[in-house]
Symmetry: C2
Subunit: 359 residues, 2 copies
């Protein structure tokens, strides 16, 4: 297999697809037919994925990401046919603020994993990409060694209207990557708030990457994110930084003890590493295998996946109920009218809600 193939060319394919829709009337029928012939069938893509063909995988992910309804239908068929091959990987979430060295860490970690015969897929959930159409992982040159690794697959963040939509695409992409025999899925995120929660709800292990900084170590860290972490890894623990990293480790350990123990029965650990010098990377994997052993033994691993599925089921239903309601043109204009009546003291929020729901 040509390692170059691992570089994701699907964005290109998608652009072609979109173009062929837009210019349908201005192109000759022959050109369109020729292009159509090149589109692989659902069965072609599924066999390609199961065989481990990266091009098929990329094309199928592009269908998942498309907003075209024909593409979505095809994507759903592919996902369904891939389901029997899925569910067999370890899913690891990695988060940390910009500058913490996420790309360098993921590259070093990914290369360690492929060196011990793992197949690694790296995906991203990026809240900012819903506006900017992809920012993290966008610059693949930051992971140039991992990109060339034939047992690694890197896919930038899908763009979308909402975090819910992006999360759905990522969850469906995980299924295809698993069907393509990727046994370790890394999901990167950076964000303020909700994206961490979304990623936490689709992974088995959640890793928070930190730096040893000057001053108050806990300042500015979202409490909820520390609470979700199964491990805190302090990066750039090298050179002059080692002393600060060690005291940060003590401080984080102390902070972790303030939280109630987890239902997984796992006590979160703090580790030091230097992604740049590739030190401490194998310890992170060792920790994750310890975690898997513990949680598979006490059945938390499976319970957690079932709970996550339930969460996504209910979340999707509720998002859709709301969007169906609020996207109705009639509701949009009546909602404004009712708000004006409320502000004028002529109705209550509850009477207004009753009125809108009865429309």
């Amino acid at each position: 297999m040509d390692p170059k193939k691992n570089i994701d060319k699907s964005a290109l394919h998608e652009q072609e697809g979109v173009e062929s829709q837009k210019t349908l009337n201005t192109r000759s029928a022959n050109t369109i037919k020729a292009k159509r012939k090149k589109q692989p069938s659902v069965n072609d893509l599924v066999s390609g994925i199961v065989y481990g063909d990266i091009t098929s995988l990329s094309r199928a992910i592009t269908l998942i990401e498309s907003t075209n309804s024909t593409h979505s239908k095809k994507a759903n068929e592919i996902i369904n046919k891939c389901l029997p091959y899925a569910n067999k990987s370890v899913r690891i979430g990695i988060t940390g603020v910009p500058g913490v060295g996420k790309s360098t860490f993921i590259e070093a970690f990914g290369i360690h994993l492929t060196s011990i015969e793992k197949k690694v897929a790296v995906l991203a959930v990026d809240p900012s990409s819903t506006l900017s159409k992809g920012s993290i992982l966008g610059d693949k040159t930051r992971m140039e060694d991992l990109v060339k690794d034939k047992n690694a697959f890197i896919r930038p963040s899908p763009s979308g209207d909402s975090l819910g939509g992006v999360a759905r695409k990522t969850r469906e992409t995980i299924i295809l990557c698993e069907a393509a025999s990727f046994d370790t899925i890394i999901i990167e995120t950076v964000g303020v708030g909700q994206s961490e929660t979304a990623v936490h709800s689709m992974v088995d292990f959640f890793l928070l990457l930190k730096l040893a900084g000057a001053g108050d170590e806990l300042q500015g860290i979202k409490r909820g994110i520390i609470e979700m972490a199964d491990a805190i890894v302090i990066n750039k623990a090298d050179g002059d930084n080692i002393k600060a990293a060690k005291s940060a480790k003590i401080e984080f350990n102390r902070a972790l003890h303030l939280y109630p123990s987890k239902t997984s029965n796992w006590s979160p650990k703090v580790l030091l590493c230097s992604a740049l010098k590739q030190e401490g990377i194998s310890d992170v994997w060792k920790l994750i295998t310890d975690y898997l052993e513990t949680t598979k033994a006490n059945s938390y691993f499976d319970d957690n996946r079932n709970n996550q599925n339930r969460f996504w089921l209910l979340q999707t239903i509720e998002d859709r109920l709301k969007s169906n309601f609020y996207n109705s043109e009639k509701i949009k204009s009546e909602l404004k009218n009712q708000m004006a009546l409320i502000e004028a003291g002529k109705t209550t929020p509850f009477a207004a809600a009753d009125y809108l729901l009865n429309l």
Copy 2:
């Protein structure tokens, strides 16, 4: 007016009402007619409320709290007719853990307010009451002086299926109290989590009552609740406790500085008081009037009420959309089937959601 009337007898009235429904067939027509004649009309109740008659107010609140649909219809008419007289009070939320002296504080505070010619209504939102049918404020003997005060009205927590339902009843009760010329509405709550948020979303000023304790003052306090507070009042600052209370004040002031400044432009303050000895109570009211001056001048007061109305409108719509969906018998059984298919790896949460929404 007989001060005894202020003690809420509406629970009694409600019981009578329910009984007349249940025993409809076994009673003679005459008895029923006689009972019906005693039920005041919507217009009777509205004029009673606007006149300031506590019995009318109590009866109307009982209609709000009833789950009988005829009662609800009547309640909605009354609320609508009271709206022109509403919206003119100051709404104060008071929270604090059990043992902090909330009843003693509210009694002292309420008596201070009536002594300066205010009319005070005390309501409660109690999450535990959805199970136990009313716990806080239930024991009115704890506020025996305020109960006797003819310018005070105390109403225990309504019970309900959900916090949303209880909150709605409380918000509607506020409207009636305002129409009955109560110019200061105190809403008491105790709870872990959501009830504070609900109360915060229906008041102009949110007060957190605390005790000076030994050890780490901030331990065990929900971060979100401190963040919502416009004032922290440290109660029982008397006798041997004064020194501890003073150092708690310093510590809370420091904690408050860690939060970003509020959109109200108000910097939350920490005060000491002894509700038992009635010391520091007038300072609390002085602080609230300062707050009102600031927020009415910068228009936050009105903006906040509009935002609260918008919040309750959307919240009610979304609660109802969800309950309409999940309460359908078909959905209930299909939801179980789909979850089983997901757990067996035969469908995805997203495909299952699509299926359920298309039913």
